[in-house]
């Protein structure tokens, strides 16, 4: 499936920026400037729509309503009116998320990537993050196909981190997930041992100040599957 993103924005300067920002993030972009023109646009092959609400011709919410009659494509709404009623209306009509102007390029890209990164199930009992693979049924861990021996606690810890690759996981969550009787202090000991056991090719376990730990992955869309 293509990574094509449809941008519907009437302002020329902002539209150019949106296209450039999304293309820099590795996405293919099609830009439509007019609401009327967007009414009949083909949505097959479009993975996400960035939709401005204030459009000439057909209004953004009307477009959203039209899109929802024929597609479940994720729609990210851009709104300049910071009014809750507009956002609620958009979400009720089927928008998946919104970004309020003025927004930062990374804010928009992050929201787009968050929508595109929805995990796809490959096998229910297999977690894969880069070179790391965890077989939940067999309780085995491999890195680049080489088995790594872990204790049950270390396996649970790694699994809890790998379930949300790239995301910081709180110490409290990790203790609840992996340590039956342990405390946050013993957590650090287990993490330290786990780090030593994982080879260099494995994703790194990074300490996140004030939160806990994160399994680091390369930036990009769809960094992990399970």
């Amino acid at each position: 499936m293509s990574d094509r993103v449809l941008v519907i924005e009437d302002d020329a300067a902002l539209g150019r920026q949106l296209v450039a920002q999304l293309e820099r993030a590795g996405l293919k972009v099609r830009w439509i400037r007019d609401g009327d023109e967007a009414r009949d646009v083909e949505l097959d092959g479009v993975r996400l729509v960035v939709l401005d609400l204030m459009l000439p011709g057909t209004y953004g919410l009307d477009l959203l309503r039209i899109f929802r009659t024929r597609s479940d494509v994720p729609v990210l709404v851009l709104t300049a009116r910071n009014e809750t009623a507009d956002k609620v209306r958009a979400l009720e009509l089927g928008a998946d998320d919104y970004v309020t102007k003025p927004f930062w390029p990374e804010e928009l890209v992050a929201r787009v990537q968050a929508r595109l990164r929805r995990p796809t199930m490959t096998r229910g009992d297999l977690l894969r993050v880069g070179a790391l693979e965890i077989d939940l049924a067999a309780h085995t861990v491999t890195v680049d196909g080489v088995a790594v021996e872990l204790t049950n606690t270390e396996l649970e810890l790694l699994t809890a981190l790998a379930r949300r690759p790239g995301a910081a996981v709180t110490r409290r969550s990790l203790v609840e997930a992996a340590l039956d009787l342990g405390t946050e202090r013993t957590l650090d000991v287990h993490v330290s041992r786990l780090r030593k056991k994982l080879p260099d090719a494995a994703p790194k376990i990074v300490t996140v100040w004030g939160i806990g730990y994160r399994l680091e992955v390369d930036a990009g869309v769809g960094g992990a599957t399970r």
């Binding site: 300049a80 009116r81 910071n82 970004v99 003025p102 390029p105 992050a110 995301a167 910081a168 806990g212």
Partner: protein, 462 residues
């Protein structure tokens, strides 16, 4: 005091003494007329012949006169005196003319000595009062200069008159109270209409109808004024919304240009990079300020502007963190966040909550030291409770000032010296939003040395 009581009480206070005065005055006038008639009758009856007989033997004259009145012809005997009247005569010095005559009553004597031609006094039991009238004869010598007659005085018993007067007064009060009834009903009808804000109409041309018309006119005027204010408020809101919209678009483009410029600048051009980053920071501050002013206006407008709905908290936190990532990076501050894997929804207003969280993160990033950290953690602390923590390792806030952080315009000295351009609106908005949406906001000193802000409240079931 109710209207009926207001009418009855003054009537009672005013009418009762007035009726009493009239009854008393009427009694006095009757008594005066009777005294005058009696005195005139005595003088008229005391002809020269009668005087001579009296002077000759006062006791015999008195006895004969009594006998003549009781047994003689009615017309001759009375001449203004009732049959049961008793006579007594006295000389000019007010001494009894005969041994049978009793001494002259002191009150009568006193009145005569003061120069009057007649004097009177009421005496005897209340049921059968008597009237004594002393009349001075047209002569001032001899034994029969003063004649006193004692006669029954039916007018002396005034109990019946008093009772009648009281009944009349009470009747008048009752009639007045009954007469007020229709007025009271009209006023009640008017009160109900005014209280309900309904159209006020009242037939007639009395004062109540005039009051109703005045109310109706005032109501129409107030409605027109309120409509005018609402229209003005709506126009102002539209103006602010349109202006905000017009500001947001170029601001977004400006931010995009600056961000692109920042990425395109070669690393060697440190001066240009510093300028672009300073511009980025200003643009970031400006966007935050514009958003804050919009939210502050919404909060000032009150409850009707709060839109209650289910807010998805996880994407909200992700949006806020993404918004501050670049500024944190260029300030050398590590900004990290953690959100639950499962959706976390709360009842509230997404615009208000997002701005509150944004202000907390913005504050933490702005006041962090280079190389410092900011952590944003959202988690479900209990099945139906959430907790959002924003933690930094910046300079923190002295314990004594923590409680003042939510005050409008309050800034610590540290904040003033680090960021002179702020004016303490951000945390005040957080405080206001928390209060408006029934969330708990707590400031504490973090164990890491910085500030720990916790926003917590009720969330919906997972």
């Amino acid at each position: 005091m109710r209207l009926r009581a207001r009418v009855a009480l003054p009537l009672a206070i005013g009418v009762l003494p007035l009726v009493a005065l009239v009854v008393w005055a009427q009694g006095e006038l009757r008594r005066g007329a009777l005294v005058d008639a009696t005195a005139d009758g005595l003088v008229e009856r005391m002809t020269e012949r009668e005087r001579a007989l009296c002077e000759a033997d006062p006791a015999a004259w008195v006895a004969r006169t009594r006998e003549r009145r009781r047994s003689g012809p009615r017309r001759a005997a009375l001449r203004g005196l009732p049959r049961r009247a008793e006579l007594a005569v006295y000389d000019a010095r007010l001494q009894p003319a005969s041994p049978e005559s009793p001494p002259l009553d002191a009150a009568l004597a006193s009145a005569l000595r003061s120069g009057g031609d007649a004097a009177s006094r009421v005496f005897g039991p209340r049921q059968r009062p008597m009237l004594a009238v002393a009349a001075r004869m047209p002569w001032s010598t001899g034994r029969c200069a003063i004649v006193v007659v004692q006669r029954p005085y039916p007018g002396g018993d005034r109990r019946g008159v008093w009772l009648t007067a009281l009944a009349v007064a009470l009747g008048a009060i009752g009639v007045a109270v009954l007469a007020v009834g229709p007025v009271v009903r009209r006023i009640r009808k008017l009160t109900t209409a005014v209280a309900a804000g309904a159209a006020v109409s009242m037939d007639g041309d009395d004062e109540v109808a005039e009051l109703a018309r005045a109310f109706a006119a005032s109501r129409d005027e107030n409605r027109a004024r309120v409509a005018e204010l609402v229209a003005r408020d709506a126009a102002l809101t539209r103006f602010v919304a349109n202006t905000t919209h017009d500001v947001m678009l170029p601001l977004t483009v400006l931010v995009g240009h600056l961000a692109a410029l920042d990425e395109q600048l070669p690393a060697a051009e440190t001066t240009s990079a510093a300028t672009v980053r300073a511009a980025l920071e200003e643009a970031h501050y400006l966007t935050s300020l514009v958003q804050n002013l919009g939210v502050a206006a919404k909060l000032e407008a009150g409850e009707p502007h709060v839109v209650w709905h289910e807010v998805e908290f996880v994407p909200l936190v992700e949006r806020v963190v993404a918004r501050h990532t670049r500024i944190a990076q260029q300030r050398g501050v590590s900004l990290a966040h953690s959100v639950p894997d499962a959706p976390l929804r709360v009842r509230g207003d997404v615009t208000l909550i997002e701005q509150a969280v944004s202000n907390l993160v913005h504050n933490a990033v702005r006041y962090a030291d280079v190389g410092g950290h900011v952590a944003v953690v959202l988690e479900r602390s209990a099945p139906l409770r959430f907790e959002l923590r924003v933690l930094d390792d910046g300079p923190g806030v002295p314990e004594a000032l923590l409680a003042r952080l939510g005050e409008r315009g309050f800034r610590t000295d540290e904040a003033r010296s680090r960021q002179p351009q702020g004016f303490g609106l951000g945390l005040h908005i957080v405080h206001d939003v928390a209060a408006r949406l029934a969330l708990t906001l707590q400031f504490a000193r973090a164990t890491e040395g910085g500030l720990l802000v916790t926003l917590s409240g009720v969330c919906l079931p997972a």
